[in-house]
Symmetry: C2
Subunit: 173 residues, 2 copies
């Protein structure tokens, strides 16, 4: 056994999963429409800024997901950042696809469903997709957005549950 | 004025900055070495998993940063996830470069500096770099890692300050 294997005994994907259990992330919702004009959307914990001049956002997605083929270059997308009050919305958009747009709590901007209760909403377009193995990094050009709510408590994902900055809200079942 | 501009009055980079003030992120430290074998490292809030089979991580970086030219394909990198106890380490690695490795609180694994006090450490190699305007998405192949600490409180970045899941720890000055 080398010194290195003694220091770092967890290998490959087990190491990755163990490390990311100790790493919290903000929770967002991405929405768009499919080729038939029907709403699509999902909860994402990989949304991050990629620079502000020009304004760019990146997020990661499995190439095997049903949403990925719809996120073609130029497709309009809404990115919602979420606060603690949006917990049930985050859970619904991470649940069964057939339940995601059955409530009439969204409006359509063009063909893109938008949830007004989110802390903030950005409208963008898919600029580029970088495929790596069975996943992809999707880059959005940001066009414009809402005036964000002030003084919100952010919604977080950590150790398989949702949290806010002051208290744990619910387990991810 | 169109309905859309009434709904989304904040334009471009202002919209992006406003939205991301409402979005929290986990805090990590990335370390490696330069072409002369000297330690480099920085605090990053864009670290996210890109799939576990094979284990991949992505993070975003400005192409103009001094670290970017060192993160060549194949370069060994350590990724540290941080807990609340690592606040001062996060602040130091986000501060002046000349102060980042002056304390003897790291060890070298090969040429890569590693901070044992972090919640978890992953060792990986730069696999790909996707350049977009003045920024880049860097993809790491993960090789192995430490046994993460149990029951840590994650270190978060939100509204220009550091927080943990239960209390705000310090402002980012």
């Amino acid at each position: 056994m080398t010194t290195e294997s003694l220091n770092f005994p967890v290998i490959g994907s087990d190491a990755l999963k163990a490390a990311f259990r100790t790493h919290a992330s903000g929770v967002a919702i991405i929405t768009s429409h499919d080729n038939d004009g029907l709403p699509i959307g999902f909860t994402a914990t990989s949304v991050t800024s990629l620079g502000s001049n020009p304004p760019l956002v990146s997020f990661n997605i499995a190439r095997g997901s049903s949403s990925y083929p719809q996120l073609v270059i130029g497709r309009e997308v809404a990115l919602h950042t979420l606060c603690a009050k949006n917990l049930s919305l985050a859970q619904r958009m991470a649940g069964p696809k057939e339940n995601r747009f059955t409530d009439a709590d969204f409006e359509l901007i063009g063909k893109v469903p938008v949830f007004r209760e989110a802390s903030s909403i950005l409208i963008g377009k898919v600029r580029e997709r970088f495929e790596v193995e069975s996943n992809a990094v999707v880059i959005l050009d940001i066009l414009h957005g809402t005036e964000p709510m002030e003084q919100t408590r952010p919604l977080l994902y950590f150790q398989r549950g949702y949290l806010t900055a002051t208290e744990r809200l619910a387990e991810n079942s």
